[in-house]
């Protein structure tokens, strides 16, 4: 395992809400709270101590929007010059026409994005009442014309990507699909039908996988083991969700 200098790896300690994690020599990070100069776990998860901060990496739970996250969303509703987008979190996100690359006349938003369209977006702002604003202004952020999406727990996103992108490279290589992973746990993929089926099955395998180590190897085995059409038949892959049909522009 490669370790950078300021990373201190603790040995996968599972903590439960209310567990004492440290004293005032550390700073409270995500998933923790401080009470009387002591730091406690606020969430069920893995203890992680990094550059003076004590964090708890949550073991489960619903995605919470954070500024700067790349997410994949589905348009839910259309306003005169804005859209409401489902980004797989407790709050519906707001996308204004000014935050897109199109010049949208008032009342014509529906011509650019319709209900059910999938978009790749970035979270611009999250205010204190958790109103989420999306942006599509940056390069690469766009409407997805085709493909399908599948959802996993957002906590498993790092596993789908793998160390240095190894897992996602493996998926792309074996299925010939284009794949995008949103930090909200929504995965978009496009390619040949059989390839997408295989990729979706592999993603669900990662989501439900309980392997201790060597997940990459078992996914590689899964992807190359049953070639072509028979992919996914013998493996327990959990439920698969196909939220949109295949749509070509």
């Amino acid at each position: 395992m490669v370790q950078s200098d300021n990373v201190q790896r603790t040995d996968r300690v599972l903590v439960v809400p209310g567990d004492k994690l440290g004293d005032s020599s550390y700073k409270p990070g995500t998933g923790t709270f401080r009470k009387d100069s002591e730091i406690f776990a606020a969430q069920l998860g893995i203890l992680n101590i990094r550059s003076g901060f004590i964090n708890v990496i949550p073991a489960g739970g619903i995605y919470q929007p954070r500024q700067g996250d790349s997410v994949i969303g589905m348009v839910q509703d259309i306003g005169p010059s804005n859209w409401m987008v489902d980004i797989n979190c407790p709050y519906t996100a707001f996308l204004h026409a000014n935050e897109t690359q199109w010049k949208v006349d008032f009342g014509t938003a529906g011509q650019y994005l319709g209900v059910g369209d999938i978009i790749l977006a970035k979270i611009g702002q999250v205010d204190e009442t958790k109103r989420v604003n999306l942006t599509m202004k940056e390069q690469g952020l766009r409407k997805m014309g085709s493909g399908q999406i599948t959802k996993i727990a957002h906590t498993k996103v790092p596993r789908v990507i793998g160390k240095g992108g190894s897992m996602i490279a493996l998926l792309k290589e074996h299925t010939g699909c284009r794949i995008f992973v949103g930090q909200n746990g929504v995965i978009w993929m496009d390619g040949e039908f059989e390839g997408m089926k295989k990729a979706a099955a592999a993603v669900q395998l990662i989501d439900h996988g309980t392997q201790l180590h060597g997940l990459t190897d078992s996914v590689r085995e899964f992807l190359s083991g049953n070639g072509g059409a028979s992919a996914g038949q013998s493996q327990p892959v959990g439920k698969m969700t196909f939220d949109i049909g295949i749509k070509r522009e």
């Binding site: 439960v16 790349s70 958790k130 160390k163």
Partner: protein, 249 residues
């Protein structure tokens, strides 16, 4: 009520053979429902309770939303077949009361400020009832909320203390509940020792009350160990291979 039943025998043992300060056997499993965000199953003597937690999700109807924090909604329900006498389905005075006090107990430990406008929905289903279901329900609900990855400052553990044949008894059984002199459910946040639930039916002297509180709190701490154990078992394997990563395009 006229005391026709002898609840404590000459050896000082109760009708089910327990000592006065002995709990019934308790078993807790976390994460038993695939479609809930968090869940728990608990067996406490002959009580069987299933809890499902959904959320945080957008509170509906909208007027219930609090712009500053999440609301906690609990639905306690006894299955029609849960008791010797058929329970008429639907909410009743007792179920409404238990739902309310359970929600208020959980609100004390859930960090609701993190989720403005959201709702955390807890469904407690009593499958089999044998006295002490509100404590069983609250104990299981705390595990299910933690399992849902919801940030909380502590768990909640609850246990009843009562009085029968003039003697204080821990964790009343059905006969002791029906024919005893007092029943006092106690729920605490074990880290701080804060009391988050306290009710009493019947009467005790001040001295008995003090002793009963101590008994209930000690027992709740034991139950808390079972709760954390259930949560640790749930994720012991699942997250051994977790790594941080960024979403890649």
């Amino acid at each position: 009520m006229a005391e026709k039943i002898k609840l404590i025998n000459d050896d000082g043992l109760r009708t089910d053979g327990r000592k006065p300060d002995e709990l019934r056997p308790i078993r807790i499993e976390a994460g038993v429902l695939a479609n809930a965000d968090g869940s728990a199953y608990l067996e406490w003597g002959a009580n069987k309770v299933l809890v499902a937690v959904y959320g945080p999700r957008e509170a509906q109807p909208k007027y219930l939303q609090d712009p500053m924090k999440a609301i906690v909604q609990v639905n306690y329900n006894m299955a029609a077949f849960s008791s010797e006498e058929r329970v008429r389905p639907g909410p009743n005075r007792r179920a409404t009361e238990i739902s309310k006090i359970t929600a208020e107990a959980l609100e004390n430990v859930i960090i609701t400020n993190n989720f403005p406008r959201a709702s955390i929905d807890v469904f407690i289903e009593v499958l089999e009832a044998d006295a002490g279901t509100r404590c069983a329900g609250l104990t299981a609900a705390a595990v299910a909320v933690a399992d849902a990855g919801i940030p909380m400052t502590d768990l909640v553990a609850a246990c009843a203390v009562g009085k029968a044949d003039g003697q204080l008894l821990l964790d009343l059984g059905k006969k002791e509940d029906n024919f005893g002199e007092a029943d006092m459910p106690i729920g605490i946040a074990p880290r701080t020792g804060d009391i988050v639930l306290l009710q009493m039916d019947g009467d005790m002297t001040q001295e008995e009350m003090r002793k009963a509180l101590r008994m209930g709190m000690d027992a709740s701490r034991k139950i808390h160990e079972l709760q954390t154990d259930a949560l640790r078992r749930r994720y012991a394997v699942n997250f051994a291979d977790m790594d941080d990563g960024e979403a890649v395009q």
